[in-house]
Assembly symmetry: C2
Homo-oligomer: 397 residues x 2
């Protein structure tokens, strides 16, 4: 048993971490494709070796592999600012985040102690999020709630935005609070929160990011980041959010991720209350005191992982950890041209279920998955939830 | 069929109305006892004739029957100010109120047109209630909501209190709005709302009261009145209410009466929001727009009466309407002293179910009910919901 446990010792070697980084940064590889590639090729390095040929078969003339030099430079830059890359499955990886759909294979973490396992490895976490242009009452309530929940041993997660996010981080400083960044781990946004961020890092807080270092956040990076906020948290508390706000995106992720959604009500005459009030109408728990939060969350804290049935443990993401030699895995099948054409013909811009595609084309599951990877790496496949696929035609990109 | 329908023509004769008034105003007779008495004696007059002897058997030396003179004086005073007494079962009696537990047998109604059947006879009604010391935002929202619901054809019910109640009545003036009084129908409370009340009456509004004319409301009359507000309404909308407020009493009645409970949320930092927010936590519908109200209420409006299963139609309350001669009814049984003592001995200060009492004493149901009436009229019985009874001992009153 000792040996079996040890053979899955959850740390990547430096070589493996480099390969993981190159793979996730390569063209058309997202967290989901990363996982598919590891499932097929057994290790990030084997996947890297296969990438150019795969994408060529998918119809792409030249494929941009993320170079070893660039990956080494990124790692060096991270180390220089005291940040580390944590891989899915390593102890410091936020435990709840492992259970979301398509978790980032690598997270940059920045903290006073570069490993900071106690903090990012905790699962007694609550997100507090809300309006950037919050009211004074909203900020006051966020401060009260975050402070009291910290005292109760909760780690407060938020997005370092103005308004509610800042108030929550501030109030939770003493017990350590975690921010998820939409940009690179060295890119504090907004700039006015640099001082708050410094205080966070100085007081055992941390920041995480899945984006490359120095990445300047674009509008579409924020929803993507929001899935990390809810993903790291047992529950999400919403304080003031207008309709169609980013906070509501986070709440939607929380719903998908089967996390608790809690909302603080407000007057219907304040547009900043509409979002939270609507969530309550849709079934979110109404919060007007820390006791309300504790009543809802306490039964969840003692639940052992995995929190949710039906969310698969990503063990297949890291079979390589202690076996850089992949000879034990069966070699990936080589799809023939006829199968490939059948799959490409069957796909259209209308999303179709993978199971239907399987029945329609008659190819084997392993072959289908390989062909889909090829098309995806060529930038021609779009994946939709849950498990649906569509083709991106040249004219539509 | 014509005859059968006519024989239940739903109007009391003047003589009957006088007898009903004397009965409900007599000592130890409340709405529930009134109904029991009518069930036993077939008419209010027959019950009046039996009262002194019944209470004597229950152990009371002298019983105060409400005199004919006093009743005539009350009727005259009502007519003088343009008010009428409407009996349970008559067309102008608020239809939803018939279905509550222990509805008042007689309601004083005051309106521009003394009968005002269209208004008090409507069942497209909503109560809007809330804090007396409401915030400006609360009053504004009550005004908006009441105005919009009026436009949608709802009659707004409230309690003419300061704050939310006044705002709701004001905004609903044009379509007629109904106030329920805790005091007599001529006793406008608070005085500062005299002008609002005059406007209500002038614009097809109405007021109702079950209390004697000129009755000055005491603290304990307000909860009793609140059951009329919810009882007349399909649903109760709560806007701002502190904990332990009268509005929460009304909401509790609404729950017992199986009416919709709707609440407008507010900031947890405002104590006036705590009550409404708590109701939402307990399952009340969160309201932030008139559309939210319509979504909830529209399916209820078309429901035919009786709204609730298990609430018995009070037909037995008025078999006398067209048969002042009660010879067709079997004469009430005369309980013997042995049975009476058995029931008295079985009762204690601990409430007991009537069914258990029946089994324990072995007397017939009709005999038991008669004995209970006797004890009740003697002021020694307390009735608890649902259907439980206890003895009031001399030392405990």
């Amino acid at each position: 048993m000792e040996t079996a446990t040890k053979s899955r010792a959850p740390h990547l070697s430096d070589t493996q971490r480099l390969a993981w980084l190159r793979l996730i940064r390569s063209e058309n590889v997202g967290p989901r494709t990363f996982r598919e590639l590891l499932n097929h090729f057994g290790s990030a390095q084997a996947a890297l070796d296969a990438l150019p040929e795969l994408s060529r078969r998918g119809g792409k003339k030249s494929y941009r592999l993320f170079s070893k030099d660039k990956a080494e430079a990124e790692l060096a830059a991270l180390y220089k600012i005291g940040a580390r890359l944590i891989a899915l499955g390593e102890p410091a990886y936020p435990p709840l985040l492992r259970h979301i759909d398509a978790p980032p294979p690598l997270l940059a973490v920045r903290a006073r102690d570069p490993l900071q396992q106690e903090l990012t490895g905790t699962q007694k976490t609550l997100a507090i999020i809300g309006a950037r242009n919050c009211s004074a009452a909203g900020a006051k309530f966020a401060t009260q709630l975050a402070g009291e929940l910290s005292t109760q041993g909760f780690t407060i997660i938020s997005g370092l935005a103005r308004g509610i996010d800042s108030a929550a981080h501030h109030a939770a400083l003493s017990s350590g609070t975690i921010a998820a960044f939409a940009g690179g781990i060295d890119t504090v946004y907004p700039k006015e929160n640099l001082e708050l961020f410094s205080s966070m890092i100085a007081t055992n807080g941390a920041a995480i990011s899945e984006m490359p270092i120095s990445w300047q956040p674009r509008a579409r990076d924020f929803p993507r980041r929001n899935r990390l906020i809810s993903g790291m948290s047992l529950g999400v508390i919403l304080i003031e959010a207008a309709e169609k706000s980013g906070s509501l995106h986070t709440a939607r992720y929380a719903l998908e991720q089967n996390r608790e959604i809690l909302a603080v009500p407000g007057s219907p005459l304040d547009p900043r209350s509409v979002g939270a009030n609507k969530l309550i109408q849709q079934g979110a728990a109404l919060v007007q005191s820390v006791d309300d939060v504790l009543d809802i969350m306490e039964p969840k804290i003692s639940m052992s992982l995995p929190l949710h049935q039906g969310i698969e443990e990503p063990t297949m993401c890291w079979p390589e950890l202690d076996s850089p030699d992949t000879s034990s895995l069966s070699p990936p099948p080589n799809a023939n041209e006829q199968d490939r054409q059948a799959v490409i013909d069957a796909l259209s811009e209308t999303p179709i279920d993978q199971d239907e595609l399987l029945r329609f084309t008659g190819v084997s599951l392993q072959t289908l998955q390989l062909i889909l990877l090829e098309i995806e790496l060529a930038g021609r496949l779009e994946r939709h939830k849950p498990n649906k696929l569509s083709m991106i035609h040249a004219g539509t990109t």
